[in-house]
């Protein structure tokens, strides 16, 4: 019997305290960070780790980092072994040393109480720029050397003393260094807060006891996951899907060639194996994923399906029952020096969605159709003519959240491995030389089904007069549609065009840099999500309400739902509303 069972109250108390610490890190980061991507969009994750680097508690942040952050802390443990002291701070971002992609910078700080090493606080934050040729560091390159500054695990503070030379090197390699310094300061403050809180817990419960409880919190999630798995039917599911491309124009017809990801999921009793055998080899452009990134998406999908009411505390214990395998050198388990920047979110989105497709073959009541499947990243950089200052803007635009076995998807909301926020239009226009001309729901973009997919968005930016910019795009689901499940239709794919003042619109490929002259407009539509179940089974009244609210047009009701007289359904919905 586990030790905590004898004192369940203390266990519950310590567990809750650990999660509160991770949450408090988030508050400190958000309220003190400088760049919009952190303070407004929330692209960061906070976690508490044990001395071995296993995650004990994840803050309510981004699922994408859940599976891969432990590798970031383990990399520090491995590099510095026993040479870790109070007041040390480590920094790194290299995907070949436990990172995810170069813009995600990890700050890892050990916590001590009375000389005893308790564990680590880690804060991974997406910096809007980490160097490279393209503002925002989202260029289509063919080696990681082109993606920006690489930081293997290195010591930024030693026993409280700043390594000034290292900070100078970092700030010399990034655009808008004073903003980066502010962000770094807030990462340091948040991890310091967490370590202080861990020390107070140790003061209260004793260091060794706290360490034992931290281990037990991980065991607890493991037991809950296995209990949940045991309740589900055994089975095997196979799913394959193609990606739009890697940003490198190397197809036979001068296009960015698609490539395939294949997945087999085998569930037996209280464990599950996900095997990527048969996936394509790594690609020239930055769509290659480290295994921990591919696994992060898998974990996110499996957690949602196995624990659909979200009762199991997210930490490393959730993954003990799960094995993820992938051929070395494949696009989901790449080898150095393959470039990776896009894959961090685009491949983990993909693997999270594909898990649902594979699981639907034997547990269709606990899955969702494909969500937008992309972070839809647009970066813009240049000089703001209003101030003469250099700027980098980084935005992620949301699409549909997949339809479920018992309800519709959700329109324009973060889904899957992402949970970043939009930047308010008023904040964006104050900070950058752009104007947003519309930002609204795109009707008819969610896949038809018994339960409709969530609609995507349409958004238009216009560069101000005198403001030329270098843009970069990173999207998926422009040619590969978000799939429906159990007879549901796929969602509508995404598109992006740039129209210079001369009016000649140009459709952009899904990834890579492009130039935007002053006064040009950029139009983006984000993907809708897939539908669930056959469209013919959809409740007529629900179609009527969708018509009334304009989520669905009459034309689409005829086409996708075979409704001959949508105006009648609309009339009924109108009367009901009175």
């Amino acid at each position: 019997m586990s030790s905590y069972i004898q004192d369940p109250a203390t266990f519950e108390i310590v567990k809750n305290s650990l999660y509160k610490i991770a949450e408090e890190m988030r508050v400190v980061l958000a309220k003190t960070a400088y760049s919009p991507i952190l303070k407004s969009a929330g692209d960061y994750s906070c976690g508490i780790f044990d001395c071995a680097g296993d995650m004990v508690a994840q803050g309510p942040d981004l699922p994408i980092h859940l599976g891969s952050m432990p590798d970031a802390v383990r990399a520090v443990v491995k590099a510095f072994d026993k040479d870790v002291h109070e007041g040390d701070v480590f920094i790194h971002n290299d995907p070949y040393f436990g990172g995810s992609h170069l813009p995600d910078v990890n700050i890892v700080r050990p916590a001590f109480y009375e000389g005893v090493h308790l564990g680590f606080a880690c804060l991974r934050a997406h910096w809007p720029d980490i160097g490279s040729a393209t503002p925002g560091s989202y260029g289509a390159v063919t080696e990681i050397y082109g993606e920006g500054l690489r930081l293997p695990p290195v010591r930024l503070y030693s026993k409280g003393e700043l390594n000034q030379a290292l900070e100078d090197v970092i700030l010399a390699n990034v655009r808008t260094p004073d903003e980066r310094k502010g962000d770094l300061g807030s990462q340091l403050a948040a991890t310091l807060r967490a370590c202080d809180r861990l020390a107070s817990l140790a003061e209260k419960y004793g260091s060794q006891r706290l360490i034992a409880y931290m281990a037990e919190v991980i065991n607890y999630s493991d037991r809950l996951m296995r209990a949940a798995l045991s309740e589900l039917p055994d089975g095997e599911g196979y799913f394959e899907d193609f990606c739009d491309g890697d940003g490198i124009v190397d197809g036979p017809n001068g296009e960015d060639a698609p490539f395939w990801v294949r997945m087999k999921v085998t569930k037996s009793e209280d464990s599950i194996v996900v095997d990527f055998e048969g996936s394509d080899p790594q690609v020239p452009g930055p769509m290659n994923a480290a295994l921990s990134v591919s696994a992060s998406g898998v974990f996110c999908g499996l957690k949602t399906a196995i624990d659909p009411n979200s009762l199991i505390p997210p930490n490393s214990g959730c993954w003990r029952a799960i094995t993820v395998k992938a051929p070395k050198g494949s696009v989901v388990n790449c080898e150095f020096p393959a470039p990776v920047v896009y894959s961090n979110h685009e491949m983990s989105h993909r693997t999270a969605d594909m898990v649902m497709g594979a699981l639907s073959q034997f547990m269709p009541d606990q899955v969702m159709a494909c969500s937008q499947g992309t972070s839809a990243v647009l970066t813009l950089g240049g000089v703001d003519p209003r101030t003469g200052n250099r700027y980098v803007s980084y935005e992620t635009i949301k699409g549909g959240f997949g339809a479920r076995p018992n309800k519709d998807g959700i329109n324009v909301i973060a889904s899957g491995i992402s949970n970043t926020m939009n930047t308010p239009v008023e904040v964006l226009e104050m900070a950058f030389p752009v104007r947003v001309e519309h930002y609204e729901i795109q009707p008819d973009s969610g896949g038809a089904g018994k339960f409709r997919g969530g609609n995507g968005a349409r958004r238009r930016w216009r560069m101000l007069e005198g403001a030329a910019a270098t843009g970069a795009l990173c999207m998926e689901r422009m040619t590969s549609p978000p799939f429906g499940l159990m007879g549901g239709d796929p969602g509508i794919t995404a598109s992006v065009t740039v129209t210079p003042p001369d009016g000649r619109a140009q459709t952009l490929p899904s990834k890579g840099a492009f130039s935007v002259p002053p006064g040009a407009i950029i139009d983006m539509t984000t993907p809708g999500s897939g539908g669930y179940g056959f469209a013919a089974e959809r409740d007529r009244a629900a179609i009527g309400r969708d018509l009334l609210d304009g989520y669905l047009t009459e034309e689409a009701a005829r086409k996708f739902y075979a409704i001959e007289d949508p105006e009648v359904l609309l009339k009924v919905a109108k009367e009901e509303d009175q």
């Binding site: 903003e179 300061g185 037991r223 209990a227 009411n309 979200s310 949301k398 973060a414 889904s415």
Partner: protein, 689 residues
């Protein structure tokens, strides 16, 4: 003789608290709440109170109340048929929100609720630039058709929220004027409701005003008729900022009335802080389903500008994305779903959990014998002897000890491998910890050490858990004011008249011209003075409090600092910058003194001072309060009748002090004493004493 009367309209009961202005003596009355027509219950309770204490209408100097009408309309989605008008291209701001989902891994989560459905979200062609200049004129030719559509749809209220109206309100005002002329419904302009940056938060606040405005207006009208029929003065409404306001102000800004009830409790505690000479208080208000914590420093409570209505059960520390944000000052409360009715359970991995489900008033805890089968916090307190089977609910109800014991045994003790007492004790420890977390949010997280504070406990269940919480937080003193159950209602008659104003300015401390700031403050003071004129507040009782929200230029969240100097000049500018650095360091552990400070918003509170109030419930003059003994968590101790405790009487724990509405638990190592005003103080005894 003049009386002040406060009415707290709760979910189950309408509580009335009365204070005699001359002596400070207090009285109480209560009647069932009548949700179909709240005025009924208010009338019954008021008549009862006036009869009981022989009060004539002309003796009532102040009448004030707290209402849940606004919150309930939002929670139950029973607001008015409202429409919103947005800048063309931005119809969906209310639905697009900030695009984050409330739960990361919940497969079956619902879309966040939208108070105004898309069918009633309209657009008008116009556009302002971020500096307020006009890019596209307001489309005059679209207004008539818009009016026709709104009429045909029979909307009951309209919110107007155009981009950058906080910089330049001219388009909103022009459109608002045309709408007011053509439509006989209230029109709310975002530039009047909340002239602040961030279109979603501003639109949400304005939409809430439109959604609840008509309901609040008719409710207040009905209530006014009722009090008039008793010959009573006009009734004030408690605002979420801790002040009261007149009905007409509330109709103009309904979002002010959102957290009316909980605010009253904190205000009452601030009165107690003054009276008990404990200016630094942590307040702890625990009822049947929730517990709330707040902080009073130097006798003053804190407010926060970030709040989400109906945002689920999570503590109020961070937007969780499921509710409706309002950006009006709300008393800084941390709330947890933990109350006497919270259900305890064992999860699949053998962990013990309490809440968030509650047995509520019906069926209530197992021991009430009204059909409850899930063990609750109250059942566990009963088993441990913290509560007594005979005195619970004043002995009015038969308490079923055996059923509570059986439920705890079956549902908790057996699966956990513990004794019934062991399981009950574990539940109490877990729930105490959850509540201690709420107290930590308002103290530790804001940079205050709870050990520098006294805990004030009220609400029906507050005094029962207070000493254990104090111990967990290292606090050594607890005060339990009189009438814990109706204590919140006392806050209603001790509140000042208050209205908050805000202007977004965006000025850097090193570049700002102080006279621009001074002019903005004066403009807001003129608005405040007009409000106080309307309320008939004499000049010597008026007060204007200036503060501002500041941050480092590249941050997104502000901290509020006081701008107390009479005139805002260069010296004041330096003073607020210094105060900001200090506050940032205190709150987050670091500051960046080399950077200029950005002043984002100027805030002004216009206050009409209500004469201060002393609360008193005369203790018994003499006698023996001990009515027996019982086992409390395994230790025998005396049980006292609070009403019979004379002033100066003390007792050492373990002991229980009982009254009809509440029990004070005095654990071992603590001493409780009655003071001359009817407050009971608990003190932690030094080791070995």
């Amino acid at each position: 003789m003049t009386w002040r009367i406060g009415v707290d309209i709760g979910g189950t009961f309408t509580d009335v608290a009365l204070v005699d202005d001359t002596t400070g003596n207090i009285g109480v009355a209560k009647a069932p709440t009548t949700p179909s027509d709240f005025a009924q219950g208010v009338l019954t309770a008021l008549s009862q109170a006036m009869e009981r204490y022989s009060i004539k209408p002309k003796d009532v100097g102040l009448l004030s109340h707290a209402t849940t009408v606004v919150t309930n309309a939002i929670l139950e989605e029973k607001g008015s048929r409202a429409a919103v008008i947005m800048t063309r291209g931005f119809r969906d701001v209310l639905e697009l929100r900030r695009s984050a989902r409330p739960d990361l891994y919940d497969l079956f989560q619902d879309a966040p609720a939208t108070l105004i459905p898309r069918r009633r979200r309209f657009e008008i062609t116009e556009r302002l630039s971020s500096d307020g200049s006009v890019i596209t004129d307001l489309a005059q030719n679209e207004i008539d058709e818009l009016i026709a559509v709104l009429k045909a749809d029979r909307v009951e209220a309209v919110a107007v929220s155009l981009l950058f109206s906080f910089v330049n309100p001219s388009h909103e005002r022009e459109l608002g004027k045309k709408l007011s002329e053509a439509l006989d419904v209230p029109i709310y302009l975002s530039s009047e409701v909340l002239p602040e940056i961030r279109e979603f938060e501003r639109t949400s606040t304005t939409a809430i005003c439109a959604y609840v405005g008509p309901i609040l207006a008719s409710y207040l009208k009905r209530l006014e008729q009722a009090t008039e029929s008793l010959g009573l003065p006009r009734m004030y409404v408690m605002g979420s900022n801790g002040g009261v306001f007149e009905a007409s102000e509330g109709v103009a800004m309904p979002a002010m009335a959102v957290e009316s009830g909980p605010a009253a409790g904190v205000v009452a505690a601030s009165l107690a802080a003054r009276q008990a000479e404990r200016p630094n208080l942590l307040t702890f208000d625990m009822g049947g389903t929730t517990a709330k914590a707040s902080l009073i420093r130097d006798g003053v409570y804190e407010t926060t500008p970030e709040y989400e209505v109906a945002g689920g059960a999570s503590a109020n520390r961070w937007m969780n994305g499921s509710g409706h944000p309002i950006r009006v000052p709300v008393i800084d409360l941390a709330e947890v779903s933990a109350g006497g009715g919270s259900i305890a359970w064992v999860d699949a991995a053998g962990g013990i959990r309490v809440g968030p489900k509650s047995a509520g008033a019906e069926p209530g805890p197992v021991c009430y014998g009204r059909g409850g089968t899930e063990p609750t916090v109250t059942d566990c307190n009963l088993i441990l002897g913290n509560l007594d089977a005979n005195s619970l609910l004043g002995g009015e109800m038969q308490i079923n000890f055996a059923e509570a014991e059986a439920a705890i045994n079956e549902k908790l003790a057996k699966p956990l491998g513990l004794t019934v007492e062991g399981a009950a004790a574990a539940v109490i420890d877990v729930v105490n910890h959850a509540m201690a977390e709420a107290l930590k949010i308002v103290s530790v997280e804001r940079g205050h050490d709870p050990r520098d504070f006294t805990l004030a406990a009220f609400g029906g269940a507050g005094p029962l858990h207070a000493a254990a919480l104090a111990e967990e937080l290292g606090m050594t003193e607890v005060i339990c004011p009189p009438i814990p159950g109706a204590f919140s209602a006392l806050g209603l008659v001790g509140s000042d008249l208050k209205r908050d104003y805000v202007r977004t300015v965006y000025l850097r401390s090193d570049l700002a011209e102080p006279q621009i700031i001074e002019a903005a403050y004066q403009e807001m003071e003129a608005e405040g003075a007009a409000m106080l004129d309307r309320a008939g507040m004499p000049p010597d009782r008026r007060q204007f409090e200036r503060s501002l929200d500041a941050r480092y230029a590249r941050q997104s969240y502000e901290l509020n600092v006081s701008a107390s100097k009479e005139k805002f000049d260069a010296a004041a500018l330096a003073e607020v910058s210094e105060a900001f650095h200090t506050r940032h360091k205190q709150t987050y552990g670091h500051d960046n003194r080399t950077e200029p400070v950005q002043i984002v918003s100027l805030r002004l509170s216009a206050i009409g001072k209500i004469p201060s109030l002393a609360i008193r419930q005369s203790p018994a003059s003499s006698g023996d309060p001990i009515k027996g003994t019982r086992l409390m968590r395994g230790m025998n101790g005396p049980v006292l009748d609070r009403a019979k405790m004379p002033s100066g009487y003390t007792v050492e724990g373990p002991a229980a002090i009982e009254s009809i509405e509440s029990t004070i638990s005095v654990p071992k190592g603590w001493q409780a004493g009655m003071d001359g005003d009817g407050f009971i103080r608990l003190l932690r005894l030094e080791e070995g004493q």
